[in-house]
Symmetry: C2
Subunit: 138 residues, 2 copies
């Protein structure tokens, strides 16, 4: 299962986007997510390094670096999940076996098409869309 940092990161960004005029401290965000403030600051750090938000040391609040509709869920996913491969492949299959010799090339191709489909769906969604679902529906 993919870790919950992606979910928390989207939660954080939606919260910031929904309160653009407030400087939300990590303690406040943590109480919305229901976790420890350090967990929030760690994820804020990843989002900052990915260029999605701006923060200031010692000063409460984070600001989105782009408009909510310009922040795709794929960017968020890749900000908090540095491993670019979704599927693990076993190392060093037997090169003297006709299957082992080529299995990794074939698996990589098969897995890549699935991973791309996933990423395309994430790329097609953004923080504004999350906001719309949070506040304008149901």
């Amino acid at each position: 299962m993919i870790n919950s940092r992606v979910a928390v990161a989207i939660h954080i960004l939606a919260l910031i986007a929904s309160r653009p005029h407030d400087d939300l401290p990590s303690d406040y965000i943590a109480s919305s997510v229901n976790t420890n403030p350090v967990v929030i600051r760690r994820i804020l750090g990843m989002l900052r390094k990915a260029g999605l938000i701006r923060t200031s040391v010692g000063k409460a609040g984070a600001a989105l670096a782009k408009e909510p509709f310009q922040i795709s869920l794929l960017e968020v996913y890749q900000a908090v999940e540095k491993d670019s491969e979704l599927f693990a492949v076993h190392e060093n299959p037997n090169p003297h076996c006709p299957v082992g010799k080529r299995i990794n090339a074939v698996l990589n191709e098969a897995f890549h098409s699935a991973q791309s489909a996933l990423e395309n769906k994430l790329a097609a969604q953004n923080i504004q869309g999350i906001m719309d679902h949070l506040f304008n529906e149901g």
Copy 2:
């Protein structure tokens, strides 16, 4: 990253499919995968419980329970990965926060569309296709 059992399971099935008249012991399969025979037998057990292969206690060899083209990579994936949710979501976001109150419903929807895209791509591929790539191309 999704564990390597999926990759190993596909390797195993392709190997069995490519040698339908041989009874391959787990030691032999293990030497192709380059791991321990118990790792192979564990995965064979999962594939058997999923109805993809048949084995006999004490007797070498596993037989596919269906034709290679009828075994999709999605079935293999689900055989060795019992967790049906791809993305983790943080538990108990704050119900008193307008974002926390609804974030999980929105996240589940967003993640589900991505997961479905992945699963559809896996469902569209099967062991015969893996064999074709292994032996009829490149």
